[in-house]
């Protein structure tokens, strides 16, 4: 790696140096194409974010793709119901690596206000890994942009080589996850233990 002093020294002389990784990550983070996929209330805020006032194009993320094959980012904007969950997982599987997931709003993170419903999945992280969670019901468009900036920061820091390399650079990691099936009372299985590792409830001891 280039050390920072040398780099800034070179920069002053008009020579810009970047590692391949930096360049690669810069390119990816500046053109995050989201999947055009709205589930519920938050989708309207997502559209508002893409519209004139908030203008997601400033972050290179305005190209909403209707096909998962062309998308890098899945913004799960709204309640994931149990009837919808297998389809969300399937869409995620159809996206090409590198791919990222933003859980937008309380419902996508944890089921939110609807978590007591019989048909509501208590968080999409039961089946697919979530990169950034944005709380709010719905989050303001600015909050979505903040989450997007956070995701861009995360992408900047991802390594392509070495032991800590990102999932998409690591062939050993699964790129797609099993799709749950509809059961008689619930989804089967109700969660994917390889993805979902909940903390024990804080209150059991008390």
């Amino acid at each position: 790696m280039l050390d920072e002093d040398l780099r800034s020294d070179l920069q002053k002389r008009g020579i810009f140096v970047a590692s391949f990784e930096d360049l690669y990550n810069w390119g990816r983070k500046s053109s995050l194409w989201p999947l055009q996929f709205g589930l519920a209330c938050c989708a309207i805020e997502m559209i508002a974010t893409a519209a004139a006032r908030f203008d997601m194009a400033r972050f290179g993320a305005e190209v909403f793709r209707p096909s998962p094959r062309q998308a890098d980012l899945m913004i799960i904007a709204g309640t994931v119901t149990k009837k919808m969950a297998p389809l969300v997982v399937r869409l995620y599987n159809q996206m090409a690596e590198p791919k990222y997931v933003i859980a937008m709003g309380a419902c996508a993170i944890s089921g939110g206000p609807f978590k007591e419903g019989y048909n509501v999945l208590k968080g999409i992280d039961r089946y697919i890994p979530v990169d950034v969670a944005i709380p709010g019901c719905p989050p303001r468009p600015e909050a979505l942009l903040e989450g997007l900036i956070k995701l861009q920061k995360k992408i900047e820091g991802q390594r392509l080589f070495g032991p800590n390399r990102a999932r998409h650079a690591d062939t050993r990691d699964a790129a797609d996850y099993p799709v749950p099936s509809y059961g008689a009372h619930d989804l089967e299985p109700p969660m994917n233990p390889a993805v979902f590792k909940p903390e024990p409830s804080r209150r059991e001891a008390e």
């Binding site: 019989y118 048909n119 619930d186 059991e204």
Partner: protein, 203 residues
């Protein structure tokens, strides 16, 4: 509501129709129609009284319950007529109910509320579908079938509408138990804590 009832009684003397009183301030009384007569009454309401718009179809679950009733009896006690209040506890068997709210767009009147009850909640859950009379009842009757388990005979396409086909329960019933699929509750309340406890004890 009473004139509607009178009109039905005159036109269809053999139909079982009774007035269900609504004690609340809204005073929207309803007509309880016998299961067999629902179709005939509905067609009469649409064709002769002009209730051409079926606005709302809703299932209601009434599990078996105990009703306390105060009965006033006049008895002769020591030669004097006295009114004696006795509280009687009566078992009411459970049933499911389909409630239809009808309006007349032509005459701009309404609502007329029709109620149709099933025999019980398990085996005898059929009522006549009113979808052939009002097309708008189509999806709503399917919903009542899905969530309450009311079977509508004569419905053109009676399938589950909101839940998936393999789903076995009727979740809007009062005794439905949601699946045990909580894993992590940072702010659990008694209900969840009891579930956690039961699960750890079972393990």
């Amino acid at each position: 509501m009473n004139d509607v009832l009178e009109a039905i009684r005159t036109a269809l003397p053999q139909a079982i129709v009774e007035l269900v009183n609504n004690p609340g301030p809204s005073a929207q009384h309803s007509l309880l129609v016998g299961r067999k007569d629902a179709r005939a009454v509905a067609e009469f309401l649409r064709d002769s009284l002009g209730f051409d718009f079926c606005s709302n179809v809703s299932g209601v679950d009434w599990p078996p319950r105990k009703v306390k009733e105060t009965v006033l009896n006049t008895e002769m006690v020591d030669g004097v007529e006295k009114e004696i209040k006795t509280t009687v506890e009566r078992d009411v068997p459970g049933y499911l109910e389909a409630v239809y709210h009808l309006y007349s767009i032509r005459n701009k009147t309404g609502p007329v509320t029709l109620r149709v009850r099933t025999g019980d909640r398990d085996a005898d859950v059929s009522v006549h579908s009113l979808t052939p009379v009002w097309k708008s009842a189509d999806f709503q009757e399917r919903e009542a079938f899905d969530l309450f388990g009311i079977r509508f005979d004569g419905h053109p396409d009676l399938r589950r509408i909101l839940m998936w086909e393999e789903f076995a329960d009727h979740p809007m019933r009062k005794d439905y138990m949601a699946p045990d699929d909580f894993e992590y509750e940072p702010t659990p309340h008694d209900k969840i804590l009891a579930k956690v406890k039961a699960r750890t004890e079972a393990a």
